[in-house]
């Protein structure tokens, strides 16, 4: 399984906007580079990234060959209620990885 590092607060006040940073190890092979034999190396990239907060999508993106290896994705979301954030990367060659982090939301 690829290594992934996620940074986000463990707790927040209701209504607070917090930042999430997600870094994953992936070659992001473009499909345009020639290999040692002169033929293009098959494309191998992450295609989509989704973040669900208690089941509802709060952030999603598509990735393309121009994105460099080991993509770093940062975004903000609002603390609504305590629960779980689920991060999912999907890509070529049946690549998929899911990470989960919990957050405790307190009333301000």
């Amino acid at each position: 399984m690829a290594r992934a590092l996620i940074h986000m607060p463990e707790s927040a006040r209701r209504g607070e906007v917090f930042e999430v940073r997600a870094l994953i190890s992936h070659v992001m092979e473009t499909g345009y580079r020639p290999g040692a034999d002169g033929r293009p190396v098959a494309r191998d990239i992450i295609r989509t990234f989704t973040c669900r907060y208690n089941g509802g999508i709060v952030f999603g993106m598509e990735l393309h060959p121009a994105v460099s290896a080991n993509p770093y994705i940062a975004f903000h979301t609002t603390a609504t209620e305590s629960g779980e954030l689920e991060f999912r990367w999907e890509g070529d060659k049946n690549f998929s990885q899911t990470e989960r982090r919990t957050i405790t939301v307190s009333d301000a």
Binding site: R3, L5, H7, R21, S25, S68, N70
Partner: protein
């Protein structure tokens, strides 16, 4: 030329004038050459010493500064997993003998390369790790530049982050550094360049679009954006060697280890930055 010179005083005069013009032209060229080779700085003036990170752009510096951005942390975290897990065929993990890396490995990376009496020559941190794997864990050595070796090396090295580079002062290590010093000043390759010509005399200048740093090796293994990956100091050295079109020694060749030792001596006292990020 000879015949003209002896054919009459007028011809001799012309020839002398021509010669003095040539001399002036050569002196002019020498001036340009001296200017190119010895810019404002004195030849060996590396003061103030500057880490490579000071020569990179602000966005790259930001990547190195913040562990939540630094892609090298992926290797560090992989190394941490390895540190705590038993080798595939069983036996003790690194932690099984060395315990908590934060205390047991603190300062270790700052003291490599180091002379190993059992092997009889200086070895790098990567070689040390592989010796430990082979002799203690009875596991296969990790291949140079493999994810695993770079990972465990980064994990060990980050425990010394901020500590001064301090090459051991024993005779064996010093001999290795002395050998490396010779290589550092030796002109090599079809371009006939030594390390010193760029990194001592022309740092701050440009090689094509890239700024030439002082070449201090205090951030390895580094995440290099060009490589899109973590890489060792030897990968960097081999890169430079093929850049000047010299024959490139194999990984862990003693020349490369000696060069690493000299670079550690040259960077003595500078804080370790692993995992560094470079363009």
């Amino acid at each position: 030329m000879m015949r003209r010179a002896v054919s009459g005083s007028r011809a001799v005069g012309e020839s002398v004038r021509a010669a003095s013009r040539n001399t002036a032209a050569i002196a002019g060229l020498m001036g340009v050459w001296v200017f190119l080779m010895e810019p404002a700085l004195a030849a060996d003036d590396r003061e103030p010493r500057k880490s490579g990170v000071e020569f990179v752009g602000e966005s790259t510096r930001a990547l190195q500064r913040d562990d939540t951005l630094n892609p090298g942390m992926l290797w560090v975290s992989g190394g941490e997993t390895m540190w705590n897990s038993e080798p595939d065929q069983g036996g003790r993990s690194c932690a099984g003998c060395h315990g908590n890396a934060a205390s047991s490995m603190r300062g270790v990376a700052a003291r490599y390369p180091a002379f190993d009496p059992a092997v009889g020559h200086a070895i790098t941190l990567g070689q040390r790790i592989n010796l430990c794997r082979q002799n203690r864990q009875k596991a296969a050595p990790l291949a140079p530049e493999s994810e695993d070796l770079l990972g465990i090396e980064s994990y060990v090295a980050i425990q010394s982050r901020g500590l001064p580079v301090s090459l051991p002062q024993d005779d064996g290590t010093r001999a290795s550094a002395e050998g490396g010093r010779g290589l550092y000043f030796k002109r090599i390759g079809q371009l006939n360049l030594s390390c010193a010509q760029c990194h001592d005399r022309n740092w701050g200048g440009r090689l094509a679009g890239a700024v030439i740093p002082q070449g201090h090796a205090n951030a390895y293994p580094v995440y290099r954006l060009e490589w899109q990956s973590m890489g060792s100091l030897q990968r960097r050295l081999r890169n430079c060697m093929s850049g000047v079109r010299a024959q490139v020694p194999a990984y862990d060749a003693q020349e490369l280890v000696d060069l690493e030792a000299y670079l550690a001596e040259r960077a003595r006292g500078m804080p370790l930055e692993t995992p560094g990020v470079r363009p």
